[in-house]
């Protein structure tokens, strides 16, 4: 039977100063996309993900807040509804946030703060064509919210962690309408790929919900995550959404004095 570490009274606590918490997860789920640069059709399929979340303790004065990192890599294989068209999908995401405790009680923590986000997605259509692939990205500033709820089932401590990033303002690389990539290469039109983006024309979201269960020497976490990027930049529609069920472990590093 699973037992918490001896003397452990809480499944998850915010890291103390100079303390680090790392969480690694692997997941599998479903992905949907519609990218009119490549096709008018919607595609869906399987996606696998690897995720890393990190927390770094705040200084005792709390001025600098907690450091928070979320990064993930996703790989997907998609088909259109009829199964005739196939696409490969990859996405790299990195978020760095500074979050401050807004609400802190024995049972819960709410942390909010600004976030910097880097997201790069690539789609490759296996159909032989001149617009067989496209890349979409987002480099932006946004908001990060973390909510941790601690509770016990009988004597077993558990924690539910909700985390969400939503970029608000930045730049997003995307090809223009029917702009061939050789055109970009031949005429050095790299700047034409860069679009000003804000949540009104480029909406992205990353959300996670994890249940943290203590084990001897660490914790495992079970959860689900959602990644979304949608825009109409460059005159074509982009909608990419991934949902994954994840499993991983949480590792709390000892304080460095």
């Amino acid at each position: 039977m699973i037992q918490p570490a001896a003397g452990q009274s809480s499944a998850w606590e915010l890291p103390e100063y100079k303390e680090r918490i790392n969480a690694f997860s692997a997941g599998i789920g479903k992905t949907w996309e519609r990218e009119t640069y490549i096709s008018e059709l919607s595609y869906s399929g399987l996606v696998g993900s690897l995720q890393w979340d990190g927390w770094k303790g705040a200084k005792p004065d709390g001025v600098m807040g907690y450091g928070r990192v979320h990064s993930s890599v996703l790989f997907g294989y998609l088909k259109n509804q009829l199964g005739g068209g196939r696409m490969l999908y990859a996405s790299v995401n990195y978020y760095y946030s500074r979050i401050w405790s807004v609400v802190h009680t024995k049972c819960s923590d709410l942390l909010l703060g600004p976030s910097a986000m880097f997201k790069l997605c690539g789609l490759y259509d296996t159909t032989d064509s001149n617009n067989t692939a496209t890349g979409e990205g987002y480099l932006s500033m946004g908001l990060c919210a973390d909510y941790i709820c601690r509770f016990n089932i009988r004597n077993y401590p558990l924690a539910v962690q909700l985390n969400m990033y939503s970029p608000l303002l930045g730049i997003a690389p995307s090809p223009n309408y029917d702009q061939p990539y050789w055109f970009v290469y031949k005429y050095n039109q790299y700047t034409s790929l860069i679009h000003f983006a804000w949540f009104g024309n480029c909406f992205a979201l990353n959300g996670q919900m994890n249940v943290i269960c203590p084990l001897r020497g660490g914790s495992i976490r079970l959860g689900c995550s959602i990644d979304y990027l949608g825009n109409k930049l460059g005159g074509h529609l982009t909608r990419l959404m991934d949902t994954c069920f994840t499993i991983g472990y949480v590792h709390r590093l000892a304080k460095k004095n």
């Binding site: 309408y177 029917d178 005159g235």
Partner: protein
């Protein structure tokens, strides 16, 4: 009290952030321009017509040259669509519809056929015999690349056949060819019935025939759904291939209506070079870089989306006229003589006598 208000404010910010997905789902109603079509005969018909309407780049040109009115095309074929028609019948109607554009880069791919209109080629004389070409090449030709062959003709003229621009260009083999033919009086390059390939390959080969940087044309692409939504024109310059041998002696380029796409680009570039004379029939065109999309039933549609222009900013979609117009003589063909090649040989020999 103040802290409580601050927390309330921050909590409301969090709630607003959580509401974003809901807000975004509401804004989906403004995606009319990108609404997906249903997989019915009419849905597929509408999808194809709309994709072409928003992305095809030669509507104005086709209206001017062929009298194609895309809205009238809709009316003409819309009445042929019924919800009970078979897939094959639908395919026929859709192919006929896009066939109105007479564009070799416009195709519809289904599980049983590739829809096309090749009247831009088949309505004209062949001006080409592969048997004759093979006879002139003989058996002892040299392979200078994928689908590139050459030999020395008896009157000290090099004869080069480029059947496709699909394969990569080997600099070492071209250097070897120019070395072998260095003492020739001139070169005949035969690109008849070459349906194209990779434009980068045709550019690489053309760069071996100039000593100077030459403006060869312009390009742009569709940047919006309107028929006249185009990006700014970009100049196309041919840079000499300074790292390899270059051919500066006379070149006769043989063309016919089968020269399409990348070959059309190749002819357009070569025509700007002072040592090159284009002899034969007009090329078949294909001056639009193609893109693809899909219909709700999974059929793939290909269409021209990025037009190319010559150095005087004229479309090359309808073909490029030769410097010297020539037709194959039926009597010559019967006698095993290629009118084009013989004319080119005479032209080079005349240039030697009367430079």
């Amino acid at each position: 009290m103040v802290m409580k208000r601050v927390r309330l404010y921050l909590a409301s910010v969090l709630v607003m952030t959580l509401m974003f997905p809901l807000i975004m789902s509401c804004t989906r109603t403004s995606d009319d321009d990108f609404a997906e079509f249903v997989n019915t005969p009419r849905g597929n018909f509408l999808a194809l017509w709309t994709i072409m309407d928003r992305h095809y780049c030669f509507f104005d040109l086709k209206q001017k040259e062929l009298g194609v009115d895309w809205n009238a095309v809709f009316d003409k074929y819309s009445v042929s669509i019924s919800e009970k028609m078979t897939n094959r019948a639908l395919f026929e109607v859709l192919c006929s519809m896009i066939g109105e554009l007479r564009d070799g880069h416009v195709n519809l791919y289904s599980q049983y056929d590739m829809g096309r209109n090749w009247h831009w080629k088949t309505d004209y004389p062949d001006n080409f015999s592969k048997d004759l070409q093979s006879a002139y090449l003989g058996d002892d030709y040299v392979v200078a690349g994928e689908d590139i062959y050459y030999r020395l003709l008896p009157d000290n003229i090099g004869y080069v056949v480029i059947r496709s621009f699909l394969g990569g260009v080997s600099d070492s083999r071209f250097n070897s060819m120019f070395n072998t033919l260095a003492l020739c009086n001139g070169l005949i390059i035969d690109v008849r019935d070459n349906g194209g390939g990779n434009t980068m390959n045709s550019d690489l080969i053309a760069a071996k025939f100039t000593e100077e940087r030459v403006l060869t044309g312009y390009s742009c692409y569709k940047n919006g759904p309107g028929h006249n939504d185009f990006s700014d024109l970009e100049e196309n310059w041919l840079e000499p291939d300074l790292h390899n041998l270059r051919w500066v002696k006379p070149v006769i380029l043989l063309t016919n209506r089968g020269c399409f796409s990348s070959t059309n680009d190749f002819v357009n570039i070569m025509k700007n070079l002072p040592n090159v004379t284009v002899v034969g029939d007009s090329t078949g065109g294909g001056g639009g870089f193609p893109f693809t999309s899909e219909l709700p039933n999974g059929w793939v549609v290909r269409f021209s989306s990025a037009p190319s222009f010559d150095a005087s900013k004229q479309h090359i979609e309808m073909g490029i006229a030769p410097d010297i117009r020539l037709d194959m003589d039926e009597e010559d063909v019967k006698a095993g003589i290629d009118t084009y090649i013989e004319y080119a040989r005479n032209l080079i020999n005349d240039q030697i006598v009367n430079p």
